[in-house]
Amino acid sequence: MSTVESHASHEHHFAHHFKSADHEFLTSKQGIWLFMVTEILMFGGLFVAYFIFHHIYPGMFAEGAKSLDWRMGFGNTLVLIFSSFTMALGIHQIQKGHNKKAVLSLALTILCGAIFMVVKYFEYTHKFHLGLYPGKYLDVAKVGAEHANLGMYFGFYYLMSGMHGLHVLIGMALIAWVLFRTMRGDFHSHYYTPVEGVGIFWHIIDLIWIFLFPLLYLVG
């Protein structure tokens, strides 16, 4: 492959099957959007299942939602929205050639992701402590559950927030990678495709959380 990223000059050598660097950029961006569609549909499948069972067992879902602490979810929502802002800001700064500022923005984004995961960790350990495990592992006696299949709610809770958390971790790793490359000076106002792609991925994570928060914590 002839995508050899040059360090010294500000010219990006695009791959041999593209006409120009812009051609490569637009194609890559479309590829990222196509990939995002699969993310929407995969998480969407979970949402559909959630809605259907929420309709069938409203009482059980209400009981489950009650045991979640909205303050944790609320705080995490703000953290994630802020991280989305810093991510967008980072791209803005790279586009303008302010790479030093961009490094700071990206680092802030990773920090926000880390805060989000730490909060998640405390949420999870607290739930485990109470015996609120997913599915058949939920300790009905210890929890004093009114609904025998409360495990289903926590099945949804752990699957949805777990899958989301996994995406946060992957996102953090990807941002760390583009952060490293920004520091190395790989990107400039006309070549920043990986940052753009990672940015869109990070925003998808935010997008999904925007729906997960009311779904899991508020609507019961």
Binding site: V37, I56, L78, H92, D206, P214, L218
Partner: protein, 105 residues
């Protein structure tokens, strides 16, 4: 394919700031609605998701830059939501229209 004229559109700093502020405000609005959900009754859930929808739209348009992107990319992303709706609609159609067979017992 309808390409944008400026390939590397730079979203204005102020727009990003406004979007972020709007998202924060809407999150607080969600909480205000939640604290009053006894007054809202059956509307509590739809309102929560309506606010979430507005927030999602802001993220998609300004943070993800779909507002400045090509029509094709907008169609592609829209298709995801459309077919998700199809999955939801038909699965729900079945479950909502099932007739219990044990009327007499």
């Amino acid at each position: 394919m309808n390409e944008p004229k400026d390939v590397h559109h730079i979203v204005d700093y102020k727009i990003l700031l406004k979007s972020g502020a709007a998202l924060f405000a809407l999150t607080f609005l969600t909480m205000i609605a939640f604290w009053n959900h006894h007054h809202l009754g059956a509307f509590a859930a739809p309102i929560a998701f309506l606010i979430a929808g507005v927030k999602a739209a802001i993220v998609m348009m300004f943070f993800m830059g779909l507002k400045y992107d090509s029509t094709m990319n907008r169609i592609i992303f829209g298709l995801g939501f459309f077919f998700l709706a199809v999955l939801m609609a038909f699965s729900a159609l079945d479950i909502w229209t099932r007739v219990p067979v044990l009327g007499t017992i």
